[in-house]
């Protein structure tokens, strides 16, 4: 069991986490955050394996991973 949390106020919608996730857990969301970026959201949370690759590549430290 693993869980990914996106701190959406940090997210800038760069898409690097979306690209790297081996399970396609993440996707660009459709709600702008206060800065106007469409923050990433986990679209298929249950598939997350907690590999933390998304966190590793996130340039804005917007991701937390739990396991």
């Amino acid at each position: 069991m693993a869980k990914v949390v996106v701190l959406s106020e940090y997210c800038k919608s760069c898409g690097l986490c979306v690209e790297i996730c081996p399970r396609k857990v993440l996707a660009i969301g459709d709600k702008p955050n206060p800065k106007g970026y469409f923050a990433v959201v986990p679209v298929d949370e249950t598939k997350c394996i907690g590999c933390a690759l998304c966190g590793l590549v996130c340039p804005d430290v917007a991701i937390e991973v739990y396991k």
Partner: protein
């Protein structure tokens, strides 16, 4: 459930000012993690000259001093000489360290200043809108090389770590990249070693990190990583360029 990945204590909770997808942020995080892991947050003074990293004073949890463009290493020298027991590091752009800061880059290495420098190499002046830097690649289009860098006129890109490695006081010199998870892990290792070198008082340590500038490269964040991989990594000598004997033991 346990947190297996999250924000390091080495960083404050201020969101980065960087453009979306800019890997400056990854490098910041790695440094923050190293500060935390070595437990030196409270003993460290960081120095950031102007450039995109110039606004990073808010981002790290340690004390920080802002320097003029190019002067980070001279300022760091002053701090370290005043407080030899503290950890002092600089985070600076390629333009900063390899253009206007050249003399200081050479001489902190020559003197063996016991400081750590992290050079963020994005092959241009990011902060000012993407002009050619000494590190700009052959043929690369920037706002001041609109027809592509012409090496016959302005020379080939400078590989600063290679030059620094010739100086005796530089005991650890590495060039790393943050384009893939694996390289990110390796980058962190190099950065950590560069701080450990200082903890042990062995001499000067430089880590050059290849980094993207999606904004000024005019590429998406994902494409930027690819561009970095395909264009920058073959040009710059990667890996540990110099590991002095006393550093090998680390």
């Amino acid at each position: 459930m346990e947190k297996v990945f999250g924000r390091t204590k080495g960083l404050t909770d201020v969101p980065f000012h960087y453009c979306p997808g800019c890997t400056h942020g990854i490098i910041h995080r790695l440094i923050g993690e190293v500060l935390e892991e070595l437990d030196i947050i409270e003993d460290t003074i960081g120095v950031a000259p102007v450039g995109c990293t110039g606004f990073s004073l808010d981002f790290f949890s340690c004390d920080f001093v802002g320097a003029a463009h190019g002067r980070g290493q001279a300022v760091a020298t002053g701090i370290k000489r005043a407080l030899p027991d503290k950890i002092v590091f600089t985070i600076q752009g390629d333009g900063d360290i390899a253009a206007i800061g050249t003399a200081h880059a050479i001489h902190v290495a020559a003197r063996g200043e016991k400081i750590t420098s992290i050079m963020v190499n994005n092959a241009l002046f990011g902060m000012t809108g993407g002009q050619m830097a000494p590190t700009t690649l052959a043929g690369q289009v920037t706002t001041t090389s609109p027809y592509g860098r012409d090496c016959a006129v302005v020379g080939t890109p400078i590989d600063l770590p290679k030059t620094i490695a010739t100086l005796n006081g530089a005991v650890y010199v590495a060039a790393v990249s943050v384009d893939t998870p694996k390289n990110i892990m390796q980058a962190k290792k190099a950065i950590k070693k560069a701080f450990q070198v200082q903890q042990k008082g062995l001499g000067y340590a430089l880590v050059s990190v290849l980094s993207t500038c999606p904004t000024n490269w005019g590429l998406s964040p994902v494409d930027s990583l690819k561009w970095l991989r395909e264009n920058m990594m073959p040009v710059y000598q990667m890996g540990e360029l110099k590991v002095a004997k006393e550093v090998e033991a680390l």
